[in-house]
């Protein structure tokens, strides 16, 4: 086991990545937000756990996630990359305003300089915004055909 890991790590390449490691049971996923070498298995040995995410909504309809912002900042300062879902999570508006069961999350310690322009810990991911726009447009388009047949049925009704 030791040699397998070291053969991964002894060659050149590989970088630290902050990503989700899947755990849990069948039909019950659970993610751990983890800083690991990019060449490790998804659920394999990691450098440090920086939080967790429960993708299923709880009794109150909330999806709960916990983040250790201090260590996140440390790893980002050391040059860690982020996976796309991790970026999207960290960019969510709730991430900076004090997450749920975070570690010694220094939300109040964030300096005003990069608090002012951001919604969350990191800026919103472009695809989040684009996805929201597309959804909104699709909903509008669905509403218009409903309105058009309603009008169409109403006009002949009033016309005739």
């Amino acid at each position: 086991a030791f040699s397998a890991g070291s053969r991964l790590l002894r060659g050149r390449g590989g970088h630290v990545v902050i990503r989700f490691a899947l755990g849990g049971c069948t039909n019950r996923p659970f993610f751990r937000i983890v800083a690991a070498n990019s060449r490790r298995a998804r659920d394999g040995k990691y450098l440090e756990q920086l939080g967790c995410l429960d993708p299923l909504p709880n009794a109150h309809g909330e999806k709960v996630a916990g983040l250790n912002l201090e260590r996140l900042r440390y790893w980002l300062g050391c040059g860690a990359q982020l996976s796309r879902p991790a970026e999207k999570l960290l960019g969510r508006p709730g991430a900076g305003a004090g997450m749920g069961t975070g570690g010694p999350g220094l939300a109040p310690a964030l300096t005003a300089s990069y608090r002012a322009g951001l919604a969350g810990f990191l800026p919103l991911h472009p695809m989040t915004v684009t996805g929201a726009e597309r959804l909104r447009r699709r909903r509008q388009r669905e509403q218009q055909p409903e309105a058009a047949p309603a009008e169409g049925s109403a006009e002949p009704g009033t016309g005739t």
């Binding site: 900042r73 440390y74 980002l76 300062g77 050391c78 040059g79 300089s113 990069y114 322009g117 951001l118 990191l122 800026p123 919103l124 991911h125 472009p126 695809m127 915004v129 684009t130 726009e133 447009r137």
Partner: protein, 226 residues
């Protein structure tokens, strides 16, 4: 541009104007027009997909005429998304730089704290001062020594020069003397003009060289026989 751009098809995605969605300052140089010259460089491939079959299994007969097209892409939306990505990456890199600075600052403080507390710093400074004094003392002594040596050397050089000068003078004097002597002797030389006269003179004054000389340099004119 993105390689994905080349792979995508300019699809008829009916979308209203998206320039307003980005907000002000979205398109600094270009206008929200149709994307110029988008030629998809793809071709329908008949390779097996993933799933139950491996890559070496042939595709099914039902898929013989299948033409796989890439997903449709709206050029306006694409531009908008690219611009958003650019801004996002800008902000991210700035954030990373700040975090990096923070980490380095913390490391520096840790190093300074680990190097020693106030007493150790004090002692360090004291020892450094003592070392400086020692160095200064050594330097003074060394300079003294060097100065003395320099003076010695100068004196020696002067002496040598004087000796040389004296030697030269003596030599010159010798040479002068020799020259004078030669000049004097030159008066007695036999020159082509004097030749005849000197020959006459020699012939007129025969000298007797019939003598011996012993080891002490005395001339012995009397021989054994006579």
């Amino acid at each position: 541009m993105l390689p994905a751009l080349r792979r995508c098809r300019p699809g008829p995605v009916p979308l209203p104007a998206l320039a307003a969605a980005l907000g002000p300052g979205a398109f600094p140089g270009l206008g929200p027009g149709p994307f110029p010259g988008l030629c998809p460089a793809w071709s329908p491939r008949a390779v097996p997909a993933r799933g139950r079959k491996t890559r070496h299994d042939p595709p099914a007969k039902s898929k013989a005429g299948r033409v796989k097209l890439p997903p449709p892409v709206d050029p306006e939306e694409l531009l908008v998304v690219l611009e958003r990505y650019r801004q996002h990456r800008l902000v991210l890199s700035a954030l990373r730089a700040e975090f990096r600075a923070e980490v380095l600052q913390r490391k520096r403080e840790e190093r300074l704290a680990a190097e020693g507390s106030v007493e150790e710093l004090e002692e360090h400074r004291r020892l450094m001062a003592w070392n400086e004094e020692e160095n200064a003392r050594q330097r003074a002594r060394r300079e003294e020594r060097l100065r003395k040596e320099e003076e010695e050397q100068k004196r020696r050089k002067l002496e040598i020069a004087e000796k040389q000068a004296r030697k030269m003078e003596a030599f010159l004097e010798e040479k002068e003397k020799e020259v004078l002597q030669l000049q004097e002797e030159a008066k007695n030389f036999i020159t082509p003009e004097n030749l005849e006269a000197r020959i006459e003179e020699c012939l007129d004054n025969p000298r007797n060289y019939n003598f011996a000389i012993d080891k002490d340099g005395r001339i012995v004119k009397r021989t054994v026989l006579s």
